[in-house]
Each structure stands twice: as C-alpha cells, then as structure tokens.
Symmetry: C2
Subunit: 348 residues, 2 copies
C-alpha cells in the first residue's frame, strides 16, 4: 500500500518521509523546468539528476542518464530516489528506481495536477520506446507520494484544466455526489488551497480501484473512461501538428463515451447537456473536427491498445454517474452517431 | 511459485507449457551459439530474437534489440517469451520480458549447468551497466523453467565443473547427506541422464531458500556461500586477463570460507581436507596466487556489494555441512591466515 501525504508543506513532508525511511543516501530526479520553477523554492539538501523536460525525452537516453547519475552519486540498494516533476518524471524516475540494483525505494512528488491525480499514484512506471508510449516499464508503486496543490502555482491554465478532467473522471467513476461536487467547482477561479481536499478525494478513488486490481486484469480498466475516444482526439491532433493537452482529450472523450452510454445503457440525456455545458463554460474549448474526420477517429479507436481483440472497440461506459461498466463494445455506426451528437452538443 | 519441469524431452515440455499458458504468440530469445548448437535440435516453430553471445553483450544494446524484436514480431501483453540459453540469456531475456509493456510471461530453458542450477531459477533478472555486473534489473520469476541435462551434451568440461560447484554449494547449504552424495558423484565421468535427479534436488534447495526470502533481505544471502572470496579470485583473474569460470572461483571461495568457518565456528578440519581433495581429484585445478596477492584479494572482498557497511567484510559461513550462518564478519588477519591455509591445502 502506498503512503500518500496531502499537505501544503512539501519540504517538511519530504523530510519526515526521509527520516522514516532512513536511507543511506537520497537522490532527486527532476527536469530542467521543474528545477528552475519549483526546486528553487523547496531548498532540499540532496544531489540532483536533471533530465531534459518533455515527453520526447522520456526515453532510453534519459533513463540511462538517470542510472548513470545514481551510480555516480554512489546510490546503493538502501538509497532513496525522490521524483519531483510531472508524469514524465514520476513514470521514468520510478522505472529507473525500480530497476536500479533490481529496485530501490522511491517517493513521487508530482508538480502538475495531472500527475498528482493520475501518474504519481498507482505503480505504472516506464518510458516510451520506438515511438510507442510507455512501451517499456514495470508495475512498481512508489513507497510514498507527497501531494501538494501549492506546487501548481506556476502552472498555465491549460495544465490545470487538463488535470481537472481526470479528477472529473474519478468523480464519474465514484459517485453522483462526488461528480456533482466537482462540477460545482471552477478550477480556474479557485484558490489552490481549496483544491487540496477535492484532490485528496479524487486520488482516493484511484487508490481504491488500483488496490483492487493492481495489474489491470479487470476493474482497473474503469480508469480508461474517456480514454478510448480521448486517445483518438489526441492522436489526430498530434498527427496534424496541433497537439492537445491530454486532459482536454479525455474531457472530450468522456462526452463521446457518455453519449455511447446513453445509446447503449440509458445514461440520462440530461447528464449529457449538463456535462457539455460544464466544458463550454469552463474554458475547455472544443476539438476542431468535422464529419470528414470520423474515419480517422474510428481508425484510432480500433488500434487502441486496450482492445481485447482485433475486431472490436473496447470502452468503459456508464450506466449513470458513479456506475461504470468495463469492457463494453460499440459498433462503428454507434460511434459515428455519437460523434454527430458530440459535435452538436459542443457546437462544432 | 515457479513451475519447474525436470525432463529430458525438452520440446514436449515446452509445447505442453505453451498449451497451458495459451499465449497470443510465442517468441524465443537466444544467442548465436545456442542457436547453432541447441536450437537446431529442438525444432520449435516460433520466431527468434538472436543476440550476440557472451557477458560483454549483456547490455542496453542487446536489451533494446530484444525489445525492438518483440515489437517487430507483434508481441502483445498476452504473448509469451521463451529464453533458451545460459545465464546471460535467462537474465537478460527475463528482464526484457518483465519490462515489455510492463511485463509479459516468460519461460526459461537453461542450456548450461550453471544457469540451470543458478540463474534460471529465483527471479533475478538484469543486465550489466557501465561495467557493473547486473547493475540494472528486476526481481521477476519466470512463469516456468524447463530443466534438462541433455542440453548440456555439447558443453566443454569446464562449463560442467563450473556449474557443478554451485550444486556442491547447495548441498553444503542443505544437509550433510546431500553434500556427501554430491562429493561421491564425478561429473566428468557421469552420463548426463544420471545427473538429472541430482540437479533436481539441487534446484529444490535454491527454490526453498528463495521462496522463504525472494528479495534477499535475509536467508537468501546464504546462497552467497563461497561468493565473497570467490568474487575476489574471479575479479583478480579478470584484471590479469586470465578469466576464470565463475564456478571455479566459487569452488575455491568455498574452501576459503570453510577455513574461516573452521577458525571462527569450529567447522570440522577433516571436512577441509575432504573438500580440498575433491577439488584436486576432479579437475578444478587451483588459482595462480601467492602471498603477494593477498592485499588485492582483501581489497576485492572489502568492495563486495554484499557488505552491509563499508568497514566490515561479510560472509556466509558454515557451522557444519548443512548449517549455514549468514552475515558473519571476519577480520583482515583471519582472512589472510585462511588464504595461507588455502594455498597449503591446494598445494600452491
């Protein structure tokens, strides 16, 4: 079981964890941006391994740099790694720690809302390889995670919106009450202190699901809500050199999958309108697609690695907010019809 | 719990495991030598990934070649890897499988006695990195291991002796009876069919210990018997460009550590003579060392990665055959005295 601390006193939380774990040495893994924007404010007395920022550097070269840095700094199997950064750093630093001398302890300190709510918790670590995302990796839960919303102070608004979409997803998976609470919160107007208790609830949803199914044989696939359609939006946008924040893609994907849920499982139509309004009123914009893009979008969904066979497209759907159903399939014509309704609801 | 099949019908055993596991696809990982000497005789209908042979190729480049091969051959997370080879292949192929898409199933088919008795069982996987042995890796037990002595038919005699030393080690850890049985067996004169039941007993010793302590927090360190002094002999020989088979180094190391056990724990002196005679009568030769090498040997032992602190040298010692004691320390003068007695017993 991972230990997760929710606090806005980050340095103190890290120091108390280090004291408790009592390692031979401590090594910080971070990227150039986080070193400049965040580490300067934390004043942690540990040597650093600083990799280049960005998903394009989540690769063997950076991983080797981290391993070499650990050797150079004299890390033993009783040392501790602290990953401070977004999802790239917690994924890659976690994998580096999980494989250094066959595995040493590590702590994640997510510095983006997206990594706090998603990447830092749950034990998925890894790197990209030959253009495939997270193709190489391991299931290795961090020994502890420090979650703090004040680290998000320098994040641009689209990073906040992107992470918040994953929080909404957790609300939808958990209960109508939690989902309502999230739709009544407006992340761009809120202060970051008030986000902390909501974030704690949200991370606990993921914890509960991961604890039940750590290696994704069943119910953990519920966390893919919004991601089959979402990855299609994300892939298409990337292909056109207009990349879209991951959480935006998931936000749109959830609407498509709510529409499919309405068609296939009587998900209430009023909920479709309510959610579409939330997206429009809170700055998520809309993807630039029209009906000529349906072929490409369906093709992306067909190649999603979560599909169980080559001939069906797999979704997590919803009977209602709080009631997800995994491993549902939809026909191509259902998907095309849902994209029509999606464009209608988003006004595109 | 690993499933271990002891059989001299290798192809049939592999086919029955494949049937049972029922993977989407099967991929063989091997090296050039094994492909030429062994795979030709097995006639397995699966695509192969063939890396260069030798410990110097147990590195990131070969690991990346394996990952890329798995992608190219279309391996999914429901595919199966079969590692056929010596310790380099089972260690590296196991690590590749354990990290491909965060882990897929794999089977080990050791083709050397050393890998059968040691590397293929127990879940240690990995590669060398920046000159450090097994610096990067994971604990990942094979889903099954197929152990067959007929695969050793083309092995040179020093490979058989090298592996047999690790079997003797298991006998020493297990019981006086098993140890006696091993010293009464003469590997170079024996037929390989008669080796199979002895090997099965030997692997079971390791299995019992690993099951009790998979991540080497305690009793698994008993498996390091002979290795603190052994690694020193091995390191010195390598430094002088006269590399020594690993098992020979362990065989010599066990004698040094028996002598220390005699000094510190009253290990019976008659046992020292008996074991030294076995080594001399069965073709193990002796290391080319004299008293001018003691400084270097002690230095190697001091830097052994199994030491718990920087100031002491850690050994697994024996109260008697079958009674190991982990985490024992010896002083430098005890070690030098034991090297004197070692040279005396070996006649060097």
């Amino acid at each position: 079981m991972q230990k997760i601390l929710y606090t806005n006193n980050v340095s103190e939380a890290i120091e108390s964890l280090v004291k408790e774990i009592n390692p031979v040495s401590v090594h910080i893994i971070t990227d150039e941006n986080v070193e400049r924007d965040v580490l300067a404010r934390l004043a942690l007395p540990y040597p650093r391994i600083v990799v280049k920022a960005g998903d394009e550097h989540k690769n063997i070269a950076s991983l080797s740099q981290i391993w070499a840095g650990l050797i150079e700094q004299g890390a033993t199997r009783h040392s501790l790694v602290i990953n401070i950064g977004g999802g790239v750093i917690t994924d890659m630093g976690g994998f580096a720690a999980a494989t250094y001398k066959r595995g040493i302890k590590f702590i994640n300190v997510p510095t983006t809302l997206l990594s706090a709510v998603d990447a830092a918790v749950g034990g998925k670590t890894g790197i990209n390889f030959e253009g495939f995302k997270n193709e190489i990796g391991a299931f290795a839960p961090a020994d502890a995670v420090v979650i703090s919303t004040i680290l998000f102070a320098t994040l641009p608004r689209e990073e906040l919106l992107s992470g918040y979409a994953e929080m909404i997803k957790h609300g939808l998976l958990s209960s109508e009450k939690e989902y309502n609470e999230l739709l009544n919160f407006h992340i761009l107007d809120a202060n970051l202190e008030s986000l902390l208790p909501l974030l704690e609830k949200s991370v606990k949803v993921k914890e509960r699901i991961v604890e039940e199914d750590p290696k994704e044989h069943g119910i953990r696939r519920a966390l893919n809500l919004g991601h089959t359609a979402g990855h299609a939006f994300e892939g298409l946008a990337l292909e056109r050199d207009t990349p879209m924040p991951h959480g935006y893609a998931v936000a749109y994907g959830m609407l498509v999958e709510m529409i499919l849920s309405h068609t296939l499982l009587q998900y209430p139509s009023a909920e479709l309108y309510r959610y579409a309004s939330y997206l429009k009123d809170n700055g998520y914009g809309a993807p630039a697609i029209d009906c000529k893009d349906y072929d490409a979008l369906v093709e992306y969904m067909r190649h999603d690695k979560k599909n169980l066979t080559r001939d069906t497209i797999n979704f997590t759907l919803l009977a209602s907010p709080g009631n997800p159903l995994i491993d549902r399939t939809a026909s191509e014509s259902d998907i095309r019809a849902s994209l029509d309704i999606f464009r209608d609801l988003m006004g595109i």
